[in-house]
């Protein structure tokens, strides 16, 4: 997943970016509203964390501009002002959730995961495309009752594909959403991860969970299941 952090306090920004990277996110960051808006308009991302009190352009203005442009990226606002007036203002402007500073990073991650799932149409922390299930909180994956041993990147690829189950995801999109800008991007690596995932998910090739569409990308073929 790719996240953007727009926060003018560089210490807080650094802490959030570091935590997100540890959780497997590719991260862009900006320390003022204008730059943040530009990054969000130009580059794809799956979730945004925006501080309200930003220089050059306030967080509220950034959110209002994005929503006016039809951008529906889930947004979590950070505010030092804990009054309900400010929370309501931020949510009215188009944010999806809020966090009052200081906050625990665990809470931030939990809210971010909810927003990402919500944007893909999932309401539960467990994504179920029977017989494969993926728990976004514990980051554990199962086929029926068999737990899979996935590397960090394999998990990231599978999570992205399952969140967008049924959609065609190109290699470019996968690369943009899963890699940091400074990483060595080689689309062949994606092919290697897809092959390894297929082997782990479907050793006897009976499920065919990931379909390759030549020239277009990949699609997770197993249907979304209703949550029990």
């Amino acid at each position: 997943m790719r996240a953007i952090v727009i926060e003018d306090d560089l210490d807080i920004q650094g802490q959030i970016v570091e935590r997100l990277k540890r959780e497997g996110f590719a991260v862009d960051s900006a320390d003022n509203g204008s730059e943040g808006l530009y990054l969000m308009q130009e580059y794809p991302c799956d979730v945004a964390i925006i501080d309200l009190g930003l220089p050059k352009m306030s967080g509220l203005e950034v959110i209002q501009t994005l929503r006016k442009q039809g951008n529906s990226i889930p947004i979590l606002i950070l505010t030092a002002r804990g009054r309900w007036q400010d929370k309501v203002e931020g949510l009215d402007a188009g944010a999806d959730d809020y966090l009052v500073k200081p906050f625990h990073h665990e809470e931030m991650m939990a809210r971010l995961r909810v927003l990402i799932r919500r944007a893909s149409g999932w309401s539960d922390s467990r994504i179920l495309c029977s017989p494969v299930s993926l728990d976004t909180v514990t980051q554990r994956t199962y086929v029926q009752d068999r737990e899979l041993d996935l590397t960090a990147f394999e998990y990231k690829v599978l999570e992205y594909l399952m969140l967008h189950a049924g959609e065609v995801i190109s290699k470019t999109v996968l690369t943009e959403h899963l890699y940091d800008d400074d990483a060595d991007n080689d689309s062949n690596v994606i092919e290697v991860f897809i092959r390894r995932l297929r082997q782990k998910l479907d050793p006897d090739e009976s499920l065919q969970p990931i379909e390759t569409l030549r020239g277009r990308g990949y699609r997770f073929t197993l249907a979304r299941a209703e949550q029990p």
Partner: protein, 429 residues
Amino acid sequence: MILTAIALERAVVKRALQAEEDRLQLLIYSLLAAVDRNHAGLSITIADERLFESSLLTRNSGLYAMLYNNSNEQIWRSQSTLARFPDDFSIQSGEWQFNTPEFSGKPYFQLIFAIQWPNVNDKLERYNIVVWQEATEYFSQLERFRQTLWTWLIVTTLLLLIVMYFVMMWSLWPLKKVGLEVKAIEDRKQSGFEYSYPLEITPLTENLNILLSQEQYQRQRYRNAMDDLAHSLKTPLAVLSGLSDSDKNGVVDLKTLREQVNRMNQIVSYQLRKATNVAGAKINKPVNMVQIITKIVSALEKVYREKMVKVDSKLPAQIMIRMDESDCLEVVGNLLDNAFKYSAGRIAIIAAMLNENEMELRIEDDGRGLEQEEVQQILSRGTRLDQSSEGQGIGLAVVADIVRAYNIDMKFERSEFGGLRVKLIFQTV
């Protein structure tokens, strides 16, 4: 006043001059009535015996009349005329000319009328009738009039100015008193306006007194909040200080660190919110609580979308309450946030009038509810914040604080759905 005097003077002078001109005109008409042919029949003359103005027959009477022919030769003069008056005038036939010349050091009125009279050959010839009236007395009277007018004008103006000055001083005295009392308030010699002001000024001083008392109240609140904050922070700071001093081979007790940071965060949030609540001050503008409830519900439905909470609300179009909007948002926001957080899927918001001005607002959920002990802890949390354990939110404590300051009755009960019911009873506007 000066303009009036000038206009009056001009009007009087003009009227007087007009009167003189009219009088001399009448005289000339009477002279015309006395016009006759002379003995030779070649010219005209004025018969003295036909003159009714006796001044013309008395020498140096001050009224003189002359008749001139076309060549400006004097062909007749009244018996009163001894001197030779100037005859350098030119006037068209049928015209009148009124002047105020000086002659021999005296002012005169002069009226000239040019007539045409047929001669023996029936040819029209032009003649000028000139009348001179000595004007010394006229100008003396005029001068006396001017002096009287201007003297009384100056006296009246001075009197008016003095009266106006005193009236102004008397009417502005209350404003001056306001200024003096403001200075006394700034110098802390008094805390508000004490003087009994006229009705026109009373709304100003009363409202200023309200403003001053609100400011003093708020200032005291901030002072108290800062005192409480400083006092409350000492304990967690002491713990953190102890952590940094303890000898554990440089290993930091993260659990304790986190606990104390949480505690400090709660203390700061609570005391700052308490300090900035406006409750207790006089609120003039009521707010519509229903609008605030709607706003908060809409925001919380967004945040808690996954819970798919069903909100049943039975509210009138408006509930007007004399409360600061920000404080109302805090009360409603915290109560509803709690309801959404702990609800299993159902929330009810119901308002009912208890009597004419008293409203009961109920917010209930189907969550786990609160034990009596927990209720007591919440209600006393504000005063015991530095002693409480970590892990509990301060939202309900903030609500308890605010409603207490607005004399709103708040009760916690078990909801019919099994969760918590919070009841607020308050006066509506």
